[in-house]
Each structure stands twice: as structure tokens, then as C-alpha cells.
Symmetry: C3
Subunit: 246 residues, 3 copies
Amino acid sequence: MFQAKARADILKEVVNVVSTLVDEAKFSMNAEGLTIKAVDPAHIAMVDLTLGKDAFEEFKADEVEIGIDIDKLSQFLKLARSDDIIDLKHDEEKRRLNISVGDITRRMSLIDTTGMSDPKVPSLNLPVTLTVKVDDLVQGIKASETVSDHIALVASPEGFEMTCEGDMDQVNWKKSKKDMESLEAPSSVRSLFPLEYFSNMLKAVPSGSLATMHLGNDYPVRVEFKIAGGKGDVRYLLAPRIESGD
Amino acid sequence: MFQAKARADILKEVVNVVSTLVDEAKFSMNAEGLTIKAVDPAHIAMVDLTLGKDAFEEFKADEVEIGIDIDKLSQFLKLARSDDIIDLKHDEEKRRLNISVGDITRRMSLIDTTGMSDPKVPSLNLPVTLTVKVDDLVQGIKASETVSDHIALVASPEGFEMTCEGDMDQVNWKKSKKDMESLEAPSSVRSLFPLEYFSNMLKAVPSGSLATMHLGNDYPVRVEFKIAGGKGDVRYLLAPRIESGD
Amino acid sequence: MFQAKARADILKEVVNVVSTLVDEAKFSMNAEGLTIKAVDPAHIAMVDLTLGKDAFEEFKADEVEIGIDIDKLSQFLKLARSDDIIDLKHDEEKRRLNISVGDITRRMSLIDTTGMSDPKVPSLNLPVTLTVKVDDLVQGIKASETVSDHIALVASPEGFEMTCEGDMDQVNWKKSKKDMESLEAPSSVRSLFPLEYFSNMLKAVPSGSLATMHLGNDYPVRVEFKIAGGKGDVRYLLAPRIESGD
């Protein structure tokens, strides 16, 4: 059993986060709320999202997993204004999610979840932790997009920088420790990442919020941020690209 | 002879209504105002628009018919702000419409009207009449657009609904009688329509206004609404698609 | 040596003006400011832009010429708000322009200027001089764009008009002398120009400003206007198209 009401803008945040990596996702419900874990088709990135039941206007659920076409959900939410209340009801018999706003109801066929993987979020020892304003980061990412396909994240006890080296040009974004929300860096680390993935992830963070990053040396990055006004948590994990020696 | 001045926003409403069905149209003028009747190339839908002379700032006309390229007229009107006054003058000798706004005049070649049909609006016995807010309807139509190519309009003494059934999903929009502006339904009726035509028609209704629909059982729908702040009338007629029994 | 700071909106105006004709341009600096002269690849139009050093927040330069990819500069400026201060520094050794806003720096490879021409602005005897509001002109140009590829500029002691003659339609834009900012026309003149060039030039003039045009009979047009709030000057020159006699 799953039956809930939520503000449209909160569901839109969920869709934004998940759609950066997958077209279809398994929504896992239990009495405490909603969890979505998904890995992108190329197995380069992972998302782990939890939305507590207090992020909803109403929420009732047994343990249940439903497979949702993210694009259809997104289309439907575009009909709603931010503060519209969306009604969600799982029709177990017909294997559908009935989703309503105002006078409109869409009865959406669910996707079979048996083939969907159940990704385990690896526990990683990432020595550096830092927090910055996401809007600042996104400016740096936009400046990098025309220069190269990869971006290096570099942290040291003094600060944090993102560097993008193309054949012709170079883009550098840099914050010293005093201009950051927080920085714990016992040593200097550097890892290289596919820019498009990193860009899509950061652009899914609600504007105006903070992002916390955990970094190592040639290691994955873990990006953490809040959604639903603090009532939801997102963790993205992105695999590094090992730099060739040439 | 035809010579008139009109606010740009009123002419834009006329263009919006007519361009949903045809690229070229015959504008028929007489002392009382302007009439446009047109049938789409597939003969599925018809429009019948009248704009009284009091919808114009100035209006002088003998009985005259001129063939207009709707797209050119639309392009020209895009140069004008809503409250700009558009000057229209028929140059009979050169077979042109001279249209001006501010310092700009376009002398537009007219289209030969001899080949244009003169559609007769059929008189139909449509038992159900209902009135709803067009913006509500348009929301329901948008929700339907990704689900199927057809939409069923269903009215009963209790209310009115639009239903769209796809292979996978179903969209339903529903108003009960008490939430409608009016509903006269001696019996229950249902007709199926091509969604794209219906959608284009309803999107041409000025936002914020009411649409009146006349419905029967597997019969055409007639959609009526006002333009030009009440000084113009539009009737659309759309043929049903007969539902196959499978 | 070249090192400067400028508001983003002023640099955006420079980019707008130059990008109408070329993708790459030679920026010539000396102690007084910046000059850009360029000819389009088809040798139909020329731009001559000067930006005095007082248009900058800070400006220090020896005589130096640097070749800039206009598109890259434009991309970078899109990251900045109008009132952001852009920092420019020529790295002579690495042959780069380092350009910064906020936390972001792009180190941009310069383009070799040896192949770039050094156009001489011809001195022309253009008998007619007139000044009009650029926004008015742009409306007339937009009205013309769908009608023909060429536009005729016609001035007489009574006024100024632009005429565009297509196979079917004709667009005319007309100002009488009393509605213009100024008009000095000892005689009547007429020249025909490629509409796309003329349109791109006029659309690069900052909205709300005045454009002065110098015209002759089957002669080039010179369009002059101010940028940077009056601290920069632009002259465009556009070759006429000789009208065939048919």
C-alpha cells in the first residue's frame, strides 16, 4: 500500500535529481518515507535519495517498490504550479500509479522492477570534506563546458579549485578556505571527472543551497545536499577518470 | 471598398483562431463587420468567425471578399504592441491589402478567392450544452497530449469529463455539475475526437474566457466563445472519430 | 603590456558590434584605449570601433595587438552579470589573454594576427547625413525581413525611407523630416543594400540610442553610433548592391 500527497515543487526536486542519471527508477517506500537508489546505464554515477514522510502533506505506505518512468512523471508535474498538491496512489491490482492534480488524473502503468539493480552505496574513505555554495560551483562549471570534457577537482589545506584543461584554453575556478563554508583537508588531493556528469549533478542541486563534497586522490567524489527544504537527502557518487601520463 | 482601423490585439485574436485550421482564408466584409468561414484541408474541422464593426476603431466596407495569407498577416502583427492601432486598406486596383502600424506599411498581395470554398455551417441537433473555463480545459488537454491521439468528451446530467486512453496510460479530466459554469444534459453522450485538432482549437480561445460546448453521441462538437472583449463570436465545429469496436 | 578592468556590459557591447561581421578580430591597444577594425569575409562590410580608456575601470597598455576569438570571449561574458567587473591581462610569454570574473579565470590562447588584414577606412563623400532612433529603424527592418533580401535606403530633403520590394509584397518605412532627430539632404539619394548585413548592424546598436547614417547615390552607407554610454564610437560601412535595370 502506498498513498500520499505532496507539494509539486518537492516532487519536481526529486525528479530533477533522479533524471540526471536514469530514465526509469525504482521508488522504495516504507513507513518512514521514500528512498530511490539508481546507477546510470554506463555505471559511472550513482544516486541515493531519501525523502522523509514529513516532506509529504500526507504519507501512508507499507514496504513496497514501484518502477516509475521518470519522464512521464516529469511531464505530469509540469502541469502543476509549485504549490499545487499532487495526489499519489498505488493501484496494486492494476499495477498502476494514479497521480492527480486538480481535476486531472493520470493512471500510469508501472515498470517491472525485477530487472532493476539494487545498487549498494560503497563505503569510501575520502579524506577531504568541503562545503560551498552550489550557485558558485555552477558558474565555474559553465565556464568549463566549452573547454574540455573533463574537470579536475583539487583540494588542499588552503582551498579548493576546479580546473579544466583544453588543447587551447584553460579554465580555473578557485576558492580560498576563508571564502568557503567549510574545508577539512588534512592533505592535498586531486581527482579528474567526466564534466558532463559532474555538471548535470550540480545543476540538479536546488539553487541557493549548499553542497558538501567528499574527495580523495584519484578517487570518486561524493556530493551531498538537501532537498525539500531540508526534509530530503541526496548523495551522488561519481567515478573518477584516471589521468593518463601523457 | 474596405478601410478600417483596429487594435493589434484584436487582430491577433482573429489570426490565432483562423490559423489553427488554415493558412489562407477569405475575409468577407459588409457594412456590419467581418466574417471568416473556413474548413481545414482535411475537412475535419470548420471555423465561423464574426467580428462586429464596433470591434474596430474605425470600419467602412461595402460587400467585398479578400483572400489573405494568414501567416503574412501574423508576421506583420508581431511587429505591433497589443494596443497599437493597425490600419487596413483594400487597394482594389492593385489587388492588395495595405496594412500599416506606426511608420511601417506592408502592401500585401491578395490571394485569389475563386478557388476557396464557401462552407455552410450545418445545423446540428446537439442535445448537451455546457460551459466551462477554457484554462481548466487546456490543462486537461495538455495532460492528455502524450498519452494518445484521441480524446473522448463525455457528458451526463452529473458532469463532464475528457478521457484519453493510451496503450499504457490513461488521463482523465473531470468536472461535476456544481463546479461548471453551466450544464444542460438531458441524457449521457460520448464522442471521440482527434486530440490535435481539439487541442489547437481550445488553445486559440483567449485565456481567462469561457467556452461553451455542444455535444451529442458520436456527433460533432461545436465550441463557441467570444473574442475582442465580447464584440466577436467564434464557432468551431469538429467532426468525431467513430470508435472501432475492438 | 595590456592589463585592464571593465564592466561586463561594456565588453558585451563590443562583442555584439564586432561579432556581426567576424569570428576573429585584432584588438589594437595603446595608451589611449582600444581600437578594432575588421572586414567581413565577403568584403562587403567593415567595422571601426574605438573604446577610450575612460570606458574602462582600469586601463594600462603599451602599443600591442592581440588576436581574439570573439565567440570564446562572448561565451565567457555570458557568465557575468551586467555590472560584474571583468579582469583582462595579456600574458605575452604564453601568448594568452587571461580573463577573470569572480572566482573564475579563463586562460585563452590568442590567434595569430599576422594573417589579419589591417583595413583602411575609405574616406567617402556622402552628401546626406541623418539621425534617427535605432529602435524605430529596427522595427522597419524586421517588417522587411520576410519580403526580400535587399533594402533600399532613400533620402530626400523631405525625409527618409526604407523600401523592400519582393515579388509579391512591398514594405515601406518612412519618416518625414519633422519626425527625425536630424536630416541634412541637399539632394535626393538612393542606394540598395543586402538586408541581412544591414539588419545585423542595426541590431548591434544598443537599444534606446541614436544612429547617424551617411548616404549617397548607389554608394556605401556609413552608420555611426555610440557605445559604452558615449565613451566608445562605432562606424560601420556597408557596400551597396548596384540595382540591375530589369
